[in-house]
């Protein structure tokens, strides 16, 4: 590695798990923000949270607690679950004070 | 290369004397090395310090085992002549703090064909500092006895190290010892 360059872009190969040591930025640096958006965890899910909009009181507890975070906050504090990233942990369902989120078997 | 070993007690400025000599030598464009004998510093305990002087760069970094000159800053250490003269080179020099060197020292020096220089540093220290500070008087005595550096170089080193009134009193002590030191 001679002459390390200032690079502000992760090489495309890194997202596909095939970047060599020569291609990677120095010292494991991730030189651009929000690369985790490219890492979709939605297919980890065994159980799927399903929202019952009628029950929801818009308290946003699920939005606060979702570790991913896969719960999006919309107009008027309505929420939407982004299934590209939701990994099905069920925390939203447990925390919801009015049981507005139910976990159902994926694919069922 | 000239190797010097200084003997004194913790708190007497043994290390400073060796340090000042090295600084004086360096200021004359020669090479010098000064190092204390390392260990916990305890007031009153016997302390040794070393100086090396050469016209060439000094490469060696071991202790000094066969000094050319031994300087005994503390007079009570002369009770143990064996220890202070250990390893002294044949024909070397001994500079002691004493109004008149004891017979035992003269005998031991004779066996080693060593010259003995003496100065009453106690008297000088009491006159100048009103305290038993022997290190700079003994530096003055060594400089005269050995001719290793010019008196002015030593005085300059003292002024750089201390400054102000303290420096001037040390200068006086060095000058007096320089004048009063005698060959036994």
């Amino acid at each position: 590695m001679s002459g390390v360059k200032e690079v502000y872009k992760m090489p495309e190969s890194a997202f596909q798990g095939r970047a060599t040591w020569k291609e990677l930025p120095i010292g494991g640096v991730i030189p651009e923000p929000a690369t985790s958006l490219r890492y979709k965890t939605g297919n980890w899910r065994a159980l799927r949270p399903v929202l019952n909009e009628k029950k929801c009181i818009r308290c946003l507890m699920c939005w606060v607690y979702c570790p991913e975070p896969a719960i999006e906050r919309l107009e008027g504090d309505r929420i939407r679950i982004n299934y590209d990233y939701c990994k099905g942990c069920g925390i939203c369902s447990s925390i919801c004070p009015v049981k507005a989120i139910t976990m159902v078997e994926e694919g069922a | 290369m000239i190797e010097i070993r200084w003997h004194g007690r913790g708190g007497q400025g043994v290390v400073t004397a060796s340090y000042l000599l090295a600084r004086a030598v360096l200021s004359e464009g020669k090479y010098a090395q000064h190092f204390p004998e390392f260990g916990p510093e305890r007031r009153g305990a016997p302390v040794v310090s070393y100086t090396r002087i050469d016209e060439e760069p000094i490469e060696i970094h071991s202790g000094i085992y066969e000094p050319d000159i031994v300087v005994v800053i503390d007079p009570t250490l002369l009770f143990n002549v064996e220890t202070v003269l250990r390893g002294l080179k044949k024909g070397g020099s001994i500079v002691v703090n004493s109004p008149s060197p004891k017979q035992e020292l003269m005998d031991e020096a004779g066996r080693r064909e060593a010259k003995v220089y003496y100065v009453d540093a106690y008297r000088i220290a009491m006159d100048v500092f009103k305290r038993a500070l022997y290190n700079t008087p003994m530096l003055g005595a060594l400089i005269k006895a050995s001719g290793l550096v010019k008196l002015d170089s030593a005085l300059k080193a003292v002024r750089e190290r201390f400054g102000g009134e303290v420096a001037e009193r040390n200068v006086e002590a060095i000058k007096r010892a320089f004048e009063e030191v005698k060959l036994a």
Binding site: G3, V4, G27, V29, E32 | A32, H34, I60
Partner: protein, 394 residues
């Protein structure tokens, strides 16, 4: 060319003086004998305005080096210093500093590791850290301690390197010895060491992530890259040594060789002992005895090719170690060189001397005895004992 100003400085003072001239931005250090004077002097320089740096007092060496890693990653020029247990306490972060490619310069006043507790010199502290990914250099005298610290910044911060550098000076033997030091003028140092240019300076418009998780799919690649960085440092270290030579009249090479043109017996060592070995070798040379001395300024990356160049024709090679690698077949330097020799195909008789632990002095008379043993082996064509303990009461 330098103004040839000679100052009487101890090793510690010389390091602090170099750091002041290097204009560091951040110092985080914890005092420990025999390094203490470095930290004291630096805090004085910062306090009286001679050095405009952030001096961060910390509660341990672990925090000191952690602070340095963070500061270095923001793009600052960073310095710390330690010894012995302090270096051991830094250990896990030493790896992180190197892996994150954080240029940091650290002075180590080498001191034995406990137990028994001891404050004097040996190399057990740095040898314990030899595989942390730091560039490791050894000073032979106070002048070299000053010179190497300045070169260390240039090496560490080079975009071809970006690794931390440890400059070792033997505890007490160098840290507390006063010698004449030729110092450069401040503006010469500023020209040699202009402000650091970080690859990723802190920039809110361009955020980057340091220290992410790397699982089996990427960890290995990043380590491979780090190993290569160490190799890539070699030409930079050589270049910096030459450039520094032009500036100061003191050129630096990874290995200092004395008498190696025709040496039958060669001795190799690190640190202040090199001077003592050379002083005794000069006396042997005057009597026509073909002894050579190799002093390694650079230990990591190990100057393999350079070493081999000198060893052609050497009958007996004596390797001096001021540390033990418990349960192995020799000291750390011996193990290193044995590997290099094996690959090179050269097969001199090799003696390993373990000496000087916990501040035990290497006397000129010890050195003479070591050389005599070497010549005896050369004559016999074999070694009676390959491991010699020198200076210990048997």
């Amino acid at each position: 060319m330098s103004g040839n100003k000679v100052l009487g400085l101890s090793g510690n003072e010389a390091v602090a003086y170099a750091i002041k001239q290097a204009n560091v931005d951040v110092i985080a250090a914890y005092p420990i004998t025999p390094q203490t004077i470095i930290v004291e002097r630096l805090s004085e320089y910062v306090n009286n305005g001679e050095l405009n740096a952030a001096f961060i007092p910390v509660e341990s060496e672990h925090s000191a080096i952690s602070t340095c890693v963070g500061a270095s990653l923001t793009g600052a020029r960073v310095f710390t210093a330690t010894s012995s247990q302090g270096l051991a306490l830094m250990h896990e972060i030493l790896h992180i500093a190197a892996s994150l490619r954080a240029p940091i310069v650290m002075a180590i006043a080498n001191r034995a590791l406990s137990a028994p507790i001891n404050i004097h010199c040996d190399h057990s502290d740095i040898m314990n850290a030899r595989d942390t990914g730091w560039i490791i250099m050894f000073a032979e005298n106070v002048q070299e301690a000053y010179d190497l610290v300045l070169q260390a910044f240039k090496i560490a911060e080079s975009h071809e390197v970006l690794l931390p550098v440890a400059v070792n000076l033997d505890g007490f033997i160098l840290s507390h010895s006063l010698e004449g030091v030729n110092v450069l003028d401040d503006d010469e140092v500023s020209k040699f060491l202009p402000k650091r240019q970080p690859i990723y300076p802190v920039d809110f418009e361009k955020p980057v992530t340091y220290g992410p998780l790397a699982l089996p799919d990427y960890f290995f690649e990043i380590k491979r890259q780090q190993a290569e960085a160490m190799e890539g440092a070699k030409p930079v270290i050589e270049r910096v040594g030459i450039e520094y030579g032009k500036l100061s009249n003191r050129e630096y090479k990874p290995i200092k060789a004395f008498g190696m043109e025709d040496a039958e017996v060669a001795v190799v060592a690190l640190g202040s002992s090199v001077g003592t070995l050379r002083a005794v070798a000069r006396r042997f040379r005057k009597k026509g005895r073909k002894i050579g001395v190799l002093g390694l300024t650079l230990f990591r990356p190990f100057p393999r090719e350079e070493l081999i160049k000198y060893l052609e024709g050497v009958k007996v090679l004596i390797i001096l170690d001021r540390a033990i690698s418990y349960g192995s077949s020799g000291g750390p330097l011996y193990l290193e060189i044995a590997g290099v020799l094996y690959r090179s195909g050269l097969r001199p008789i090799v003696l390993n001397v373990i000496y000087g632990l916990g501040g035990r002095d290497l006397r000129p008379s010890d050195v003479e005895a070591i050389y005599e043993e070497g010549f005896k082996c050369a004559e016999r064509g074999r070694a009676e004992r390959e491991l010699l303990w020198v200076g210990v009461r048997e």
